[in-house]
Amino acid sequence: MRFESPTTTKAAAALLASESGVAHVLAGGTDLLVRMKMGATEPDLVVDIKRIDSLRELKVTAAGVHIGAAVPAIMLGESDKLRGLWPGVVEAANLIGSDQIQGRCTVAGNLCNASPAADSVPALIAAGAKAVVVGTKGKRRVAVEKVVLGPGRTSLARDEFIEAIVLPARAGKSADAYLRFTPRTEMDIAVVSAAINLTLSRGIVQSAKVVLGAVAPTAVIVPAAAKALIGTKLDDAALAKMVTACEAACNPIDDKRGTIEYRTKVAGVMARRAALIAFERAGGAK
């Protein structure tokens, strides 16, 4: 195995493009190093992207948020500004693993690991986040939901990697929330999760996005659930309609962590609670 730590995105893309064997990008390493240890991958090349200065930047401005691909998740929670704008994205990112893992893991890495249960992914999709993808041919911006194709599979080409995750400018009276269900409070993987992003106008939901995690091979956007919330103050009828839409969108696996019936039921419960939290955060009153 070769270890390289380039200082520019161009050099990193060139290294990835020129390797004929197995090449991996190393950011936080909390998934990659475990896979290497287990023998699940035997890379010929590992490209550490943490020496690229621009990838270590976290910028929170009125125009939007830029989260460099090498920014550890713990830094998201340390930004009061980011927590104020996108509390759901921050709580999702900060749920990944222990403090030790938080000091290393990144949201770009969480996305590229392409786990159906990735905590930050539903929240990023609900937020309308885009991935800035860089390769030998240049840069492209792609919606986060277009990155993951299935468990462990992404749409990135061999020479491509994510440089940053960007969040759009925030409209007033907006908030998001993320909830996951795990049998224990810490150090666990989501059995089911839900992310909700709302914008209110005169106390009424003007726009909404509802995304479920761990109930299908990829995170699931549920437009019918969002539609049920729009034009309401989250009254019981609207919430019931949203729950029904969420349950209908579930296509989970059946395993020791949860049966199909259980995951489907809990998806609606998580979405309902997350919606109420987001509504309150956005300044809504019932």
Binding site: M1, G28, G29, I74, D99, I101, G103, E186, M187
Partner: protein, 163 residues
């Protein structure tokens, strides 16, 4: 396999080592730098026995490559005591009998030190969350939490006194 030459700082001292590119920082610390305070429990980032600080951040050294540490500042349990005097946390772990077999202890000490630097007066809940990445199969955690609480109290008093 070509070795990677790395210069870093460990507990304030400059070090140099050569390691295979896929060797973990945990193995570098234990086998090349003879810092055996850091322990391997799981090797997959679940147990926290290998906790160290990397540029001040708490991390699992099993999930860091030795090759990544070029120019970085590493802190291990060996750096806690000063001039032969144990750190307050170490004294309180002994005082409260917060260990039995001792394998997890260095990781708990490093994690607790990072917590108290960030929050000098953590609640019991905050302590339990902050130490959730450290597993102990002996103590049942209660004595560890008590030791961190009493350390925080002593350290706060010490800060006031030195003002």
């Amino acid at each position: 396999m070509n070795g990677v030459t790395v210069s870093a700082k460990v507990n304030g001292d400059a070090v140099q080592y050569v390691c295979p590119p896929d060797e973990s920082l945990l193995d570098v610390l234990r086998n090349r730098l003879n810092l055996t305070g850091v322990k391997e429990g799981c090797g997959t980032g679940d147990c926290g026995a290998c906790s160290i600080t990397l540029d001040g951040r708490l991390v699992c050294s099993c999930l860091v490559l030795g090759a990544e540490a070029e120019g970085r500042e590493i802190g291990t349990v060996e750096g806690l005591s000063e001039g032969g005097k144990l750190h307050t946390l170490q004294e309180q772990f002994i005082e409260k009998a917060a260990l039995q077999c001792g394998i997890c202890t260095p990781g708990f000490l490093v994690a607790a030190k990072v917590l108290l630097e960030r929050n000098s007066n953590p609640s019991e809940e905050e302590i339990r969350y902050a130490l959730a990445g450290n597993l102990c199969r002996c103590t049942g955690y209660d004595k560890i939490v008590r030791a961190v609480q009493s350390s925080a109290k002593i350290m706060r008093r010490g800060k006031k006194a030195s003002r």
